[in-house]
Symmetry: C2
Subunit: 640 residues, 2 copies
């Protein structure tokens, strides 16, 4: 870790002095015991800051469940438990839970060398290699960390999560995914019913409802988010009366500098709107909807601002394992010579030195947790994009005192994720003791009937296979979009004011060797621009409505064209349903740019359909640009 | 329904006039169209009242998800869905979910004729009859209400619940469980992650956080509950700053009359504490911890008071299917001649005439929903006591406008219960289309390999079997407690002031023909009193500490004796862990009676252990009454 001591140390003087002082006065956080913490690679680290001043009134009022003081009595050998109000497992109608499941190597982990438009229908319904797992009614194991059976999984459990699954997640988080969290003793985890549930509990823990009729404006709390954002998060906070403050973005994610950038928003905060925001909601990898990946240097700068203004960062990262190295190459070739901010994209992987144990994990841009000296990062994870959305299973990672509040909230709400999914995922990854003895029935759809559980190796291998699968889809879709982003015409025949090839978006299209060839009588009309996403599941396409014939001729607005095109795309033969940009505008129409964007997802269809879907979009756009009028039901005031 | 027209009609003049007036002025609730609603059995019913003035600020601010307007486009044949951010099901590592499950008749449904102390170890691990179920990756069915497969269950879903399971629950609720809800079009349901989750969402929808430092006392909201209560519910509301108001109880549940009864609390509300409570939390069947069952006549009276004072009733009924007719007989024989309030216990089953279709369901005391003319009852159900607690699955039933708010809250929190449990329970009860074709593998632990799904008939039969199983446990435990509730001694040798048999609790113990025989030289020292619970899982035992030798001799308090006895019971050879009464006191020590009670649960142990556990308690009590002093570590100030 020594190599990064100074990188982190350089941020320390920027710490919010009020926070630091408060802690020192309370005497809660003595200076780090350097001698004790020293390891061969160590540098001085401190305990996380006390951030309890950010807790909501209701979160502060919470106390530990009074049942816990009985735990020591539960452990008396032979004790008759007449105290707990729980049904005996003999009354559960399930004798086993079983599943046919994939082996970790079901999908090739090698990313495609070059995009191929070939239809890959053959892999779409591939269900090999596979194996069969069984969760028995009662395991022979007495160790709660390895005992996976229905007697425990279908009983009432602890709010932190089912012990075998919790222990796997905790170890994976602390040793593999975030091995370098720079505060004493590292972060804690609690399982959630998915990231949305985790976010809801976070908001309950860290914000107070503001009521216009009851409260002073000066008490109104606020949350920062990206300019374009996953709206479910906004719909979580808006009913509580919070200010939602959109921060400008560029190709890499949240902007720091310039008007509307983070620095501007925080330095020039208008207190007549309420308190300066104390929360930031951010998706940093494969950002939804823009597909950007926030590089480490910018994380450091944003983190320093959050320290200065005492802001808690809520990092929602469902796509962390879906990072596409090929997109960066593509971007750099596509934009070579221009777009200087892309040059910063060389991420400083594995910033703190301690390896994860897996080259795949080491290759990924790390979480904000990796630079979280203060303990002000709360990270939301989910199994929705790595196993299945219907799991409703995820976890939350943060400093222990924050996790404790989430556990309290869990005790009186969801209690724990469903034991059915916890047992099934635990069994998939960790296996049951049955596997060791090869008891029970083996049903293999694959060739060799490998009954070994995934373990961490298999879990990482599975994620790598998913990454490769999505990267291939991304390449298929983006290559088609890339090829179709312009229409070529003779300048004298052009229906619209078009842009000559040499000035199109400041790019030199030397790659388009078929049509270009410096023949200046040909014009190129750009339909849209986009970038190959560097992570996630989405392509964020900006429509060039100003090149549409109706733009200058009839004065049709971008908003009208957006609605008309959206409907045009849904018709035969294009049959494409895309997500309109307005759906991602947290300012509710305040962002005039939003209607120029569409979000295309390359995840929901069968693999063989990605090509047809992308072509439908391209052909629909081309056809729309040929239209000379809008119909009655198009481009009206109907809001998408 | 005609027969009960007048019973309900008689409550109408008592309606809160303010509510009625508000609705009429708004013109929202025209008088019921009597002609249209008339059926052979009908009487005039109205739509539910508009109770939106009870919604919390944040619940009022919620709006429907903006994704729903796209649903019509999703249905276009052949449409390429590039809009949704969801992974394709080929990336789910589960190819099937399977289970070995019980047939509905696993447990005998006949309640025991007479309690037997015989050890029934033979049934404890009985797992026959059983069958095997398989949820396939993709079902052949295209009807969302019958299609049960992983492609749908493990995908993102709707907040109301997984369509096949939701449709079963909704039909069961509306046609079988509550066929007589007296408002137009009946109630709606939404699935929850268990009753605790349902309660948490209810509280979010219907209460505002009150902050002592920010808010006027006059704005503090309150919730009514029973004098002894399931504390998790209280721990849900207390952090929000609500007043928690305990209402007195008797053998049947919440009291109406007398000091501390419901009428007293509401009529003489002290507004210096805050607003008069607008919510009531109640467990009416097998009340936790007291085991009481609230009869219909008293429901009517409480409901009328809730109308008068505009209170929403939150009915939490996890034990509705565990009602014990044998306990009533036992009670009446036990208390014959005394305890007049027990005579009201002849419940007016099936109050509104329309049968449920099942004698078992018709025999049960019905929900508050059955008399809910206003739509002010919100009922919480759970699968925790009918399938397994680890399901984290339940449902909430209320008028549609209230359910709508819960759905909005669900969209930004849990989203839906886990698809793993929803698919498994749907498959268990409704079956998959595979069952119809008898495809797949049949693995039967039972004799005949019956692969038919349970359907409603099987579900009701299963519940009946559970009821019989718990009733048997209850009888075993209570018979032992009954036999051991007194110690017999010669009056001159008695260590304590004891009560002669003829005056013991006002009862004549003619049943105790072995020891009694009117021989007045013998004394009976009662150790505790209790009643056979009429429902649920708990026996509520009141200790007679005033008969303990240390009570009068040393002046040891009930609280000290309670703690000492609790610890005494955990020791060898008694080894009993019971729940101290203070754990159920919502007034945090304000109820001086609480320390006199212990709650004994007859559910958590193997069936064969019920007897030993109960005997351990009895012997422990007897032994404790022989003790002449308390040890250092007992009876101290340690709070249980």
């Amino acid at each position: 870790m020594g190599a990064n001591k100074y990188a982190i140390g350089s941020l320390i003087p920027m710490l919010s002095s009020s926070c630091r002082l408060r802690d020192q006065q309370d005497g809660k956080h003595p200076e780090p015991k350097q001698e004790k913490d020293k390891t061969p690679q160590s540098y001085s680290i401190s305990p996380p800051l006390d951030l309890s001043h950010h807790f909501s009134v209701s979160a502060r009022n919470r106390v530990a469940s009074n049942v816990k003081k009985f735990y020591k009595y539960f452990a008396i050998p032979g004790i008759h438990n007449l105290a707990g109000g729980l049904p005996h497992s003999s009354y559960f109608p399930y004798d086993t839970l079983e599943a046919t499941v994939a082996l970790p190597n079901r999908f090739d982990q090698n990313p495609p060398k070059k995009a191929s438009n070939k239809n890959n229908n053959d892999q779409t319904n591939d269900t090999s290699p596979a194996t069969h797992l069984t969760v028995p009614r009662e395991s022979a194991s007495t160790d709660p960390l390895t005992r996976i059976d229905l007697t425990t999984a279908l009983q009432y459990g602890t709010a932190e999560g089912y012990p075998p699954l919790l222990s796997f997640v905790r170890q994976f988080v602390r040793e593999n995914l975030h091995p370098n969290v720079p505060y004493t003793d590292g972060p804690e985890v609690v399982l959630t019913c998915g990231a949305t549930d985790g976010f809801s509990k976070t908001i309950e823990a860290l914000t107070n409802v503001w009521d216009e009729e009851r409260d002073w404006v000066r008490n109104r709390e606020g949350i920062l988010c990206e300019e374009f954002v996953y709206m479910n998060a906004i719909q979580t906070v808006r009913p509580r009366g919070l200010n939602v403050i959109a921060v400008g973005m560029d190709n890499e994610g949240m902007r720091i500098e310039g008007q509307g950038g983070l620095k501007d928003v925080l330095e020039n905060w208008d207190f007549s709107r309420g308190r300066r925001p104390h929360l930031m909601y951010t998706v940093t990898i494969g950002q939804n909807p823009t597909g950007s990946v926030l590089p480490v240097p910018r994380r450091r700068e944003i983190y320093a601002l959050c320290q200065k203004y005492d802001i808690i960062i809520v990092e929602d990262d469902p796509y962390w394992h879906l990072q596409y190295p090929s997109a960066r190459q593509q971007l750099q070739s596509h934009f070579r010579g221009g777009q200087p901010d892309l040059q910063n994209g060389k991420c400083n992987y594995n910033v703190h030195g301690k390896p994860s144990g897996y080259p795949f994990l080491d290759s990924l841009v790390p979480s904000y947790l990796s630079i979280d000296t203060d303990g002000r990062v709360l990270r939301l994870d989910t199994f929705s994009k790595s196993i299945a959305p219907g799991c409703r299973l995820g976890w939350l990672t943060a400093q222990p005192k924050i996790v404790e509040r989430i556990v309290f909230i869990t005790e009186t709400s969801t209690q724990q994720p469903s034991g059915f999914v916890q047992a099934m995922v635990a069994s998939l990854i960790m296996g049951s003791d049955q596997d060791a003895h090869s008891q029970g029935q083996v049903m293999t759809a694959g060739d060799d009937g490998d009954r070994r559980p995934w373990k961490t190796d298999g879990w990482v291998r599975w994620l790598e296979g998913l990454r490769a699968g999505y990267e291939k889809r991304m390449q298929v879709m983006c290559t088609i979009l890339e090829e179709g982003r312009e229409v070529i015409g003779h300048s004298k025949n052009a229906l619209s004011p078009s842009i000559s090839s040499s000035s199109s978006d400041g790019e030199e299209n030397e790659d388009d060797d078929d049509e270009d060839d410096d023949w200046h009588l040909l014009t190129k009309t750009p339909l849209y621009t986009f970038q190959f996403p560097r992570g996630g599941m989405f392509v964020w396409v900006r429509m060039c409505f100003e090149t549409h014939p109706l733009w200058s001729r009839e004065g049709v607005s971008a908003e009208q064209l957006s609605i008309a095109l959206w409907k045009h795309l849904t018709r035969k033969p294009f049959l494409c349903l895309v997500a309109p940009g307005q759906m991602f505008d947290p300012t509710r129409g305040g962002n005039g740019e939003a209607c120029r964007f569409f979000r295309l997802c390359f995840a929901p269809m069968a693999e063989g359909d990605v090509e047809a879907a992308a072509k439908g979009f391209v052909e629909g756009c081309k056809d729309f640009w040929r239209r000379g009028s809008l119909e009655e039901d198009e481009g009206g005031e109907e809001e998408l």
